[in-house]
């Protein structure tokens, strides 16, 4: 079977001592920073991106993927222990996870989250491997018009599935694309919006944008008020699940995994949406719905499995189509481009070691995470006690040095400061930063495919509608937009994001 030989190739790459070490380092760093307060996965990946610039592409991506799911995982640990979601997708874990911790069952909650994530991660990786080949072979026949329509659909779908105002999210995408235009136009050689500044002629590095808009903006937001973190008082007595726990958690893990794997492929808040959906589903099928919110183990098992499965399957559109599904995969896509690997259907053929190595490493990374988290939980609990006032100056130093290291120049530091202020104003006006980053990374590709498609069709804009695949993609995007305007869908969307 082709899938098996591909996976064998992948494991051959991922299981070299060096790559195991990078995977381990990534998962460790990701968990470490994910557990520390005030830094979500996007900021974590952005902060550590420059560290991987010196590595060869496969190792760099293996490490970055490790950082991503490590940070995701760290977020659920803080959700359970201190009722503080490290990121949006572990909000749901707080509901029952923290209640379990207060009842002295923190250990069981952590165990079930770990096992759920492991099962989901393994399944999600298999899904990814199985669907990648099929999707890529479809996408290989795409021309410029189809690519443009596909990216547009991806961006629109990301808006539909994200929470918050639709007009604002679309405005952020447009702003992101416009910011991505800064630099030399590849078609004409004209420098756009560089104002004669030499350092801007290659455009703004996406890491600088991410560090400003996600890293520093988050620091500023956290300093608006005195942090009121509950200190950890929970003792972790036992990690062992009893028979009743297993009986209740196992089907929840299975359902969460399936739901997450499917929903994760959709662009937009894959992990967020699937953890909410999994929680709602569990509550609905449970014979004891009244226990939810009071420490029901299913309420931890299902969303944790779902968001981890979704984290894996959100790699599918990025790796096979070159369309990132969320801010984190947009960052990983940017990292691939820095290493001169263009994400899209050709990656599988042109860089099979990278592609299958990355997928295999996710499986290894999930095993490493369980090993890291359960026995070492005592260390993580200690880290949770570090107060934010001590932590953020270190973040500031790291972000600054990281941006300096991109070009070994102080110029980008000033650019980052601009984006910090920009991002802070955006957050105050309740704009979301994720669509901005998606637009920024996809911007140059959108523009060049748009212009090429128009050139091929001799200036006829209907070409996007007369080519069947392109038309179908655009109609789907239009359908999603119409859905958004319909009041009943809007109501349900708001309900879904409020969770309860």
């Amino acid at each position: 079977m082709e899938l098996l030989s591909n996976l064998a190739l992948g494991f051959g790459v991922a299981l070299t001592p060096a790559n195991i070490a990078y995977c381990f380092a990534g998962a460790l760093l990701g968990t470490l920073i994910g557990i520390l307060p005030g830094l979500g996965p996007v900021a974590t990946v952005a902060m550590l991106l420059p560290v991987t610039y010196a590595l060869e592409p496969t190792s760099a991506l293996i490490m970055l993927a490790g950082i991503y799911y490590g940070a995701q995982y760290g977020g659920s640990t803080t959700a359970i222990l201190v009722n503080l979601p490290g990121e949006a997708s572990s909000v749901v874990t707080c509901l029952d996870g923290y209640q379990m911790a207060r009842q002295g069952r923190a250990g069981q909650a952590l165990t079930v989250a770990a096992i759920g994530s492991l099962v989901a991660g393994c399944f999600g990786t298999l899904m990814l491997a199985a669907s990648a080949t099929a999707l890529a072979s479809v996408a290989l026949s795409f021309g410029a018009a189809e690519y443009f329509s596909l990216m547009l659909l991806g961006l629109i779908a990301a808006v539909v599935l994200a929470s918050g105002s639709v007009v604002k999210a679309i405005a952020m995408i447009v702003t992101g694309v416009l910011l991505g235009i800064v630099g030399t136009d590849i078609n004409s050689g004209v420098e756009r919006y560089t104002f004669g500044i030499f350092e801007l002629s290659d455009g703004v590095d996406f890491v600088v944008v991410a560090m400003g808009v996600f890293g520093l903006t988050e620091v500023l937001k956290n300093l608006e008020r005195v942090s009121s973190r509950d200190l950890v008082t929970t003792e972790i007595t036992s990690l062992r699940l009893d028979r009743e726990d297993v009986r209740r958690a196992a089907p929840a893990i299975a359902r969460g995994t399936l739901l997450g794997s499917v929903l994760g492929i959709l662009p937009g808040g894959g992990a967020l949406l699937s953890s909410f959906a999994a929680y709602t589903l569990e509550k609905r099928v449970s014979r004891r719905p009244q226990e939810f919110g009071k420490g029901a183990i299913e309420g931890v098992a299902a969303p944790e499995s779902a968001n981890n499965a979704a984290a894996q399957s959100s790699f599918v559109p990025m790796l096979t189509l070159g369309v990132p599904a969320n801010a984190t995969t947009a960052l990983l896509m940017g990292a691939m481009m820095i290493h001169n690997v263009q994400p899209g259907p050709k990656v599988m053929d042109s860089n099979p070691e990278l592609f299958w190595g990355l997928i295999a490493s996710m499986w290894i990374g999930n095993v490493i995470l369980v090993i890291l988290n359960l026995p070492l939980i005592g260390i993580w609990v200690k880290m949770l006690k570090i107060p934010y006032r001590v932590l953020y100056p270190a973040i500031v130093v790291f972000v600054t040095v990281g941006v300096f290291s991109i070009q070994n120049s102080t110029f980008l530091i000033y650019v980052m400061l601009f984006f910090a202020v920009f991002g802070y104003v955006l957050s105050k006006l309740s704009f979301e930063a994720a669509p901005l980053l998606l637009g920024f990374v996809l911007g140059p590709l959108l523009e060049s495919n748009f212009r090429r498609a128009m050139l091929i069709s001799a200036g006829d804009a209907t070409a996007f509608l007369t080519r069947p695949v392109s038309a179908a993609l655009l109609l789907t995007a239009l359908f999603l937009l119409v859905l958004l305007v319909s009041p009943s869908f809007r109501r349900r969307r708001e309900e879904a994001f409020q969770g309860e």
Partner: protein, 153 residues
């Protein structure tokens, strides 16, 4: 009027109009080209106009709901913003002159003041420790091209 200017949608609309104006005015000299062969100015003009339209939508929406609409809430972290971003700018500005160790200690010391619950002794200890450790890691171990001290080259 003051109510209008506190409405999130109104402010957001104005903000988008400002961004759109920047791209439309900054790009006014780029060649537009034709639909077949677009110049470098085509897409900025298109997207700048879309952004301006979205700004107007938000502006109208905000003006219509000014009584019931969302208002910008919470404190603006102006103090932390000046301290932290100022510290970083100082770092960038002085790095070549005073070296990494001093510049880093300065960033930690100044940005540390931004915490509402700051403790001076803690900040000083952290400044010294972070400067020393990060100098070892970034400059000595990774070999980033930054002078460590004013006299090192």
């Amino acid at each position: 009027m003051s109510k209008l200017l506190k409405n999130t949608d109104v402010l957001s609309g104005l903000f988008l109009l400002a961004i759109a104006a920047f791209f439309l005015i900054g790009g006014r000299n780029y060649e537009i080209g034709t639909l077949e062969e677009m110049g470098p100015g085509f897409v900025p003009l298109l997207l700048g106009s879309v952004l301006a339209a979205l700004g107007v939508v938000l502006l109208v929406q905000g003006a219509a709901t000014q009584a019931t609409g969302l208002t910008v809430s919470g404190n603006w972290a102006i103090g932390p913003m000046i301290l932290i971003l100022g510290a970083i700018a100082l770092f960038a500005f002085t790095l070549r002159h005073i070296g990494y160790v001093a510049a880093c200690a300065m960033v930690v010391a100044i940005s540390g003041l931004a915490a509402p619950d700051r403790r001076m002794r803690e900040i000083l200890i952290e400044a010294v420790l972070l400067a020393a450790i990060s100098a070892l890691v970034f400059v000595e171990a990774i070999g980033m091209p930054m002078p460590l001290f004013p006299w090192s080259n």
